[in-house]
């Protein structure tokens, strides 16, 4: 069970703390992350800025608290989009097979061979660099592996006897795809979904680092991106948001593993 899996519970606790700070932090701390509060590059421990200041004297703690929301929202939205596109394409390709399946897999391969970062950068450059565009861009470049995984699971499950049995009981194709095969294919997909959240947060950070995120919205990636020039002289300005990203990605991965065990009836306690 999930609750007996120590590392999964630890992951859940970390994620809850991060979610709490993202929701309540800005209100409790109340410092504008864009305001210059003190001198530039003050180390952590300064009375005006507990986690130090960045290259132009802005409070890093304020940036961390406000930026958490953007990072998490983009990560979750992009992951959701990735799963929706990937599962739909993979399910239809795997269930129907034949020409439809082949055509969908060629489309998947087309997206797979495009360099993900370049494609995402192109999409963001073509449209405005808002959080929505960033989330959509991440979704568009990362659904292919989900589609392939879903297709493989569908190919395996669609020939099992209980799928035949479901058909014998009068279920039609759409029902079989979403209510019979998909639930059986879920465990690996849930793990993938949590990993995708982590990857999406990293991707968003990477794009911000390259200056391709919305500069008017504070996010962890933006803090790292704007302070990359001071990496050697002021380690805290990039390390603190880096640790936050690491902790978030780690916590969702741990939860994913825990869910995998909890969802698999064979691993459950009797």
């Amino acid at each position: 069970m999930f609750s007996r899996n120590g590392s999964a519970v630890a992951g859940l606790v970390i994620l809850l703390i991060i979610l709490f700070t993202a929701l309540a932090g800005p209100a409790l701390y109340g410092v504008d992350p864009f305001a210059i509060v003190s001198g530039p590059l003050l180390p952590p421990g300064d009375p005006d800025a507990p986690l130090g200041t960045d290259g132009i004297g802005r409070d890093i703690l304020a940036g961390m608290l406000v930026g958490a929301k953007a990072s998490l929202i983009v990560g979750a939205t992009a992951a959701a989009l990735t799963m929706v596109i990937g599962i739909s394409v993979g399910a239809i390709a795997g269930f129907y097979g034949g020409r439809i399946g082949q055509a969908l897999m060629r489309v998947t391969e087309f997206f797979q061979v495009l360099p993900a970062l370049l494609l995402a950068m192109t999409i963001i450059t073509l449209f405005s660099p808002t959080l929505t565009t960033v989330a959509v861009a991440i979704g568009i470049v990362s659904w292919t592996s989900v589609a392939r995984l879903t297709r493989a699971e569908f190919l395996r499950i669609r020939n099992l006897e209980y799928v035949q049995a479901a058909r014998a009981m009068g279920a039609r194709n759409r029902r079989i795809i979403w209510l019979v095969i998909l639930p059986a294919a879920l465990p690996p997909l849930i793990v993938t979904a949590t990993l995708t959240v982590g990857i999406a947060i990293l991707f968003e950070s990477g794009l911000s680092f390259l200056g391709l995120s919305d500069p008017n919205v504070m996010s962890w990636g933006v803090i790292i991106g704007q302070n990359r020039d001071y990496m050697l002289s002021a380690w805290w300005a990039v390390t603190i948001p880096g640790i936050a990203i690491f902790a978030t990605v780690l916590s969702v991965s741990l939860i994913g593993d825990g869910l995998n065990e909890a969802f698999n009836p064979k691993l459950r306690e009797r």
């Binding site: 209980y162 035949q164 049995a165 058909r167 014998a168 009981m169 009068g170 039609r172 059986a184």
Partner: protein, 328 residues
């Protein structure tokens, strides 16, 4: 009397790039309300294909190339998928050979029964689970209130087959197709499952089409028996008469294969078998398909295929030995 289900002139073909051949040909069968009909034959005789055709489940690249199946006088093959899907599950249900693989491992037993009730009868979630508990009790599962929340892997093989029967019975179908329902079970459990099917039939008046290769099962439960060989019906009749006095040499041979322990015997009994193998569906001979293995075959058997001769009231056999001119 109009039969509940009627199969006329059914042919199922398989198509490959280069050829097409039939795995079931000229097949007629009527099922009356409340009777148990056994379909017997070796692997590849087309008995399972017949069951799958009734459920609209003929596996690709197979397809129904000729014939008609009507349920209560309404045509099913031409009726379109939606109409057929309505009849499947609600009016005609099927139980499968392997209860382990035919139950969905990711849903509880109760959810799977409830699913049928919610889908076909529009029951609410709570009412459906309550009905599921009743159904589990009716098929003899102890502590149904607890079992309803368990997954298929948590219960034994016999219990799973009972659960499978409960799923099939959820909408009180008029016809239950059972494809070797006891083959995967222990001998002691087999008898219990057969008893359960008989009990269900008595209580609900269900028509049962039992597909089996076990003549012992036929003797036990069948009202009528249909013997199949190479995709054709070769003998049909009331079970007691066919078992006592088979008219087709293949039926006799099948009956001879049942081991009968003899307490008087001092040496070990030799197990009998039928020499030769079933010809492949793609290479059926011109004459009687059984001729090559038949001890009584003569020239006519190899040259011309015998049609079904009516040998007695409600009995028929596809053998030249059963024809009138031969018996004279």
């Amino acid at each position: 009397m109009q039969p509940l289900l009627s199969i006329k002139d059914l042919r199922i073909s398989f198509r490959s790039r280069t050829s097409q051949f039939a795995v079931l040909e000229d097949f007629d069968l009527d099922l009356q309300k409340g009777e148990t009909v056994c379909l017997v034959g070796e692997s590849g005789s087309g008995k399972t294909m017949t069951g799958l055709a009734l459920m609209g489940l003929v596996p690709s690249p197979g397809f129904i190339s000729n014939g008609a199946i009507s349920f209560e006088g309404r045509e099913m093959i031409a009726a379109g998928r939606n109409r057929a899907a309505e009849i499947r599950g609600k009016n005609i249900a099927m139980i499968f050979q392997e209860p382990m693989t035919a139950l969905n491992p990711v849903f509880t037993i109760g959810e799977q029964i409830a699913e049928m009730l919610r889908y076909h009868e529009g029951l609410g979630r709570k009412a459906a689970i309550e009905r599921a508990v009743e159904l589990l009790r009716a098929v003899g599962i102890p502590e149904p209130e607890q079992r309803v929340h368990e997954y298929p892997h948590q219960i034994s093989g016999g219990m799973r087959q009972r659960a499978m029967i409960a799923v099939a019975l959820a909408c009180s179908p008029q016809i239950l197709i059972a494809d070797e329902p006891t083959t995967a079970l222990d001998v002691t459990v087999q008898a219990q499952i057969l008893d359960l099917l008989e009990e269900v039939q008595e209580r609900l008046g269900t028509t049962i089409l039992l597909i089996t290769h076990d003549m012992g099962v036929v003797a036990d439960v069948a009202d009528r028996v249909v013997v199949m060989y190479c995709g054709r019906k070769i003998e049909e009749g009331p079970a007691a008469e066919v078992l006592a006095d088979p008219r087709h040499p293949y039926t006799s041979a099948l009956l001879a294969c049942i081991p009968r322990p003899d307490p008087e015997a001092t040496t070990r009994m030799k197990l009998l078998d039928i020499p030769g193998i079933v010809p492949a569906a793609s290479a059926r001979p011109a004459g009687c398909a059984y001729a090559a293995r038949c001890a009584f075959a003569f020239d006519k058997c190899r040259a011309e295929r015998p049609p079904l001769f009516e040998v007695a009231e409600g009995r028929s056999a596809a053998c030249w030995l059963a024809s009138k001119e031969h018996s004279q």
